[in-house]
């Protein structure tokens, strides 16, 4: 007995060892045979201080049969049929809008919704409100019922209890379409199904989820600086600014074409034009300035305007709890990589020029200018009128000289004043009547039919339009800063259209573009450029912010230390940064952009809520993973049959054993 046992044990051990060698993974995994994985963009959960927005899946993956909806007729048929089993609706972008989503969610038993396809809805679609940010405390017209965004549906401010995702990649999108179509074409099993795993950990609101560490504040790094690093405390300066971010219903994919990329591209091109002109004779240029030029790209403006607010509140009242070194150039708690903002004097702002949405071309006048712009400003500040008149004079004159410069017009007096913009923050917080003019491609309402949506992409943008606005901004800045008359502004100050084209490819298309590669080296991360700021991280800078700082620093032609470097720390002086493997003097700074209602606690590596007042405290929920899988579903009656069959088999065996015990002489 014992001998036999030990032999079989030996064979058993040999078998185990052989299996270990054959099977390289530790478990036998059938997942690849059963499931097809996708990489969706999810409408994940975003919270503010009172509410929850976005979608989530239940804790256990929810699954259902795929059902394809490609036209309105399909949708009506589905709603009438109202099948009894759980569905996953696959909806084409042509019929993707808030009404249809709500109809689906209200009427049907759904496990989730998958948005597929590349067709852009012709009737326009915007998930933002009709007056974006009107409830925010920085809005200058909180009681206005004016409609800036006529396509707005406020989808971003809804909450769904089922997951909704978007498949961007064409291969995945078409595969899902085929699977869903196969379900409709035949009634036979097996059918195709899908399940979602995107359980959102945060709950209730931002205050609670920050306390429980189930969410993180949304933010990033704004980029600001003075042109050429020239800042003279005793004289006023002009502030050129724009927003750096946007969002969409699927925040991970926010292409942000007309908003905000047109503004970003225009401002970078304008600064580039000025810097190229300055490079001809640097000393003469900066000596001719009677006012300095400050530029700023504010991050996270879509989330309570935190970029501009944080900067202003830091300039006015920042105190450092723990300095990095005795020279007090950097602060560790709260973390600020540079204290240069302390030298900014906000009462010296001569006026603000903000670039809103500037990329859509609208042929508005008989003269067929290649580029048009509207000037928006607050009506209760009398200084805005002569200022806008001087802009118009300058651009009209430059137009007559044959340059491609925007034809500017004042906006319709029926508008309430400034549209939603970062300039509102300055006027609200600084209390003084700062002249502020916003240049945009729209007059009474947004001409952008896809404001803040997944459809606001490069097709929206016109390169001549962008060049015109950029040239206008550069020449206006030069004329006002050096106090020269329109006829004396040098003809060479013109924006470079080739650069604009490259910038558009990078900011709206893919981060793997040539321009980004040249400045930032190898890029890792998402392929598609997204303008969603993401969560604030103290040690990572987003690609867009880093590129803007590096590009401007490089163009400023500051003293180039030929020492080779790869990171900022490699450069000898604290006043230098590493751009393109060489050390340059800093002329553009990062500034943290996150809600004033939270402060980072480096000891515990978490965000603590401080007195936030009216701030909205936008946060993004945490999650374990976002997954979408498809698989085949068996006829449910097979499961029932297996259960019944199994029970019968069990009863049969029980009966046989009972017989055997009763009548043991049979066996």
């Amino acid at each position: 007995m014992k001998f036999e046992f030990s032999i079989s044990l030996k064979y058993f051990l040999i078998l185990i060892i052989i299996l270990k060698f054959i099977n390289s993974s530790h478990t036998i995994n059938f997942d690849d045979e059963i499931y097809t994985q996708y990489s969706p963009f999810a409408a994940f959960r975003i919270l503010d201080k009172t509410s929850i927005f976005g979608t989530t899946s239940p804790f256990k993956p929810s699954s259902g049969q795929l059902y394809l909806v490609e036209t309105e007729a399909d949708l009506t048929k589905l709603l009438n049929d109202n099948p009894s089993h759980t569905l996953v609706v696959v909806i084409d972008t042509a019929v993707y809008n808030k009404d249809n989503l709500e109809k689906l969610v209200d009427k049907l038993k759904l496990a989730g919704i998958i948005v597929i396809g590349g067709t852009i809805p012709a009737t326009g679609f915007s998930p933002e409100k009709v007056y974006p940010d009107r409830e925010a405390d920085m809005c200058l017209h909180p009681n206005s019922d004016y409609i800036w965004n006529p396509y707005g549906t406020s989808l971003l401010y809804e909450r769904f209890y089922i997951p909704i995702v978007y498949l961007l990649l064409e291969t995945e999108s078409e595969k899902m379409r085929e699977l869903a179509r196969a379900n409709v074409e035949s009634d036979k099993y097996p059918k195709n199904g899908a399940d979602f795993q995107m359980f959102m950990e945060a709950s209730i609101d931002s205050k609670v989820c920050l306390r429980r560490e189930t969410c993180d504040p949304i933010g990033g790094e704004s980029v600001w600086g003075f042109l050429g690093g020239v800042q003279n405390q005793s004289r006023p300066y002009i502030l050129l600014q724009t927003s750096l971010d946007s969002r969409s219903f699927f925040p991970g994919f926010s292409p942000g074409g007309d908003f905000p990329s047109s503004g970003i591209v225009t401002l970078i091109a304008a600064l580039d034009a000025l810097l190229k002109f300055a490079a001809n004779d640097t000393d003469a240029f900066y000596q001719s300035l009677q006012r300095d030029i400050m530029f700023a790209f504010w991050e996270s403006e879509s989330f309570g305007k935190v970029g501009s607010r944080k900067f202003i509140s830091d300039v006015l009242s920042f105190t450092c709890d723990q300095w990095t070194n005795e020279w007090k150039t950097q602060c560790d708690d709260p973390k600020r990589s540079s204290m240069a903002f302390k030298s900014v004097n906000l009462s010296n702002i001569a006026f603000i020029v903000e670039l809103g949405q500037t990329g859509l071309y609208d042929n508005i006048s008989n003269y067929a200018f290649k580029s048009n712009g509207y000037l928006h400003y607050e009506y209760d500040n009398p200084e805005n009128v002569p200022l806008s008149d001087s802009f118009i004079n300058l651009t009209d004159f430059s137009n007559s000289q044959g340059l491609n410069i925007s034809h500017l017009e004042k906006s319709d007096p029926a508008t309430p004043g400034l549209p939603p913009s970062s300039a509102e923050t300055f006027i609200s917080l600084l209390g003084t009547q700062i002249p502020a003019i916003l240049i945009s491609d729209f007059n009474q309402n947004y001409t952008n039919k896809y404001y803040s949506s997944i459809f606001d992409n490069v097709q929206n943008l016109d390169l001549d339009q962008l060049q015109g606005i950029a040239t206008a901004t550069a020449r206006i800045a030069y004329a006002e800063a050096t106090q020269t008359l329109p006829e004396n502004v040098p003809l060479e100050i013109v924006a470079d259209q080739a650069l604009i084209s490259q910038l558009v490819d990078c900011f709206v298309g893919t981060t793997y573009c040539d321009l980004f590669q040249n400045f930032l080296g190898s890029i890792s991360g998402t392929y598609f450029s997204s303008n969603y700021p993401g969560i604030y991280a103290t040690d990572t800078i987003s690609i867009h912010s880093k590129f803007i700082r590096d590009f401007i620093t490089n163009s400023t032609n500051s003293t180039c230390d030929p020492n080779y470097c790869t990171t900022d720390e490699d450069c000898n002086s604290a006043l230098q940064v590493c751009v393109n493997y060489a050390c340059h003097s800093i002329t553009a700074y990062f500034h943290p952009a996150y809600s004033n209602g939270v402060e980072y606690d480096p000891d515990n590596d978490k965000f603590n809520i401080v007195d936030f007042g009216l701030d909205h405290l936008w946060t993004e929920s945490r999650w374990e993973g976002i997954e979408l899988r498809s698989f085949q579903i068996n006829n449910p009656s097979i499961n029932a049959a297996m259960l019944v069959g199994g029970i019968l088999l069990f009863l049969l065996y029980y009966f046989l054993i009972w017989i055997q015990k009763k009548k043991s002489f049979f066996f």
Binding site: T56, E201, R211, T214
Partner: protein, 98 residues
């Protein structure tokens, strides 16, 4: 405990008394065990213990269940205090939505 040598009455009373006192340390199920174990005894004193144990068990369980119901449904409404009282706070949606 050897079934061949059953406990004497005195020993049973001692055991019952120990179980009864121990039950006061937030151990209602010990009271329940006491009641079930000695339910067939005829002794007066043991019967009294059984009665007291049943009483204690039901009263304690009543309060425990009430507290559980209140805590689980209202904990989110209590803000910081609620979180501090919790050993484990489940992720995701709760019944409380402001």
């Amino acid at each position: 405990m050897d079934p061949s040598t059953p406990l004497t009455e005195e020993q049973k009373i001692k055991v019952a008394k120990k179980m009864y006192i121990a039950g006061f340390f937030f151990l209602p199920w010990l009271w329940f065990c006491l009641a079930i174990y000695f339910r067939k005894e005829k002794n007066e004193i043991l019967q009294k213990y059984v009665k007291k144990a049943y009483f204690g068990f039901f009263v304690f369980t009543f309060f425990l269940l009430t507290w559980m119901a209140v805590f689980l449904s209202q904990r989110d409404r209590w803000g910081v205090k609620g979180d501090n009282l919790s050993v484990n706070i489940p992720y995701g949606d709760s019944n409380y939505d402001s």
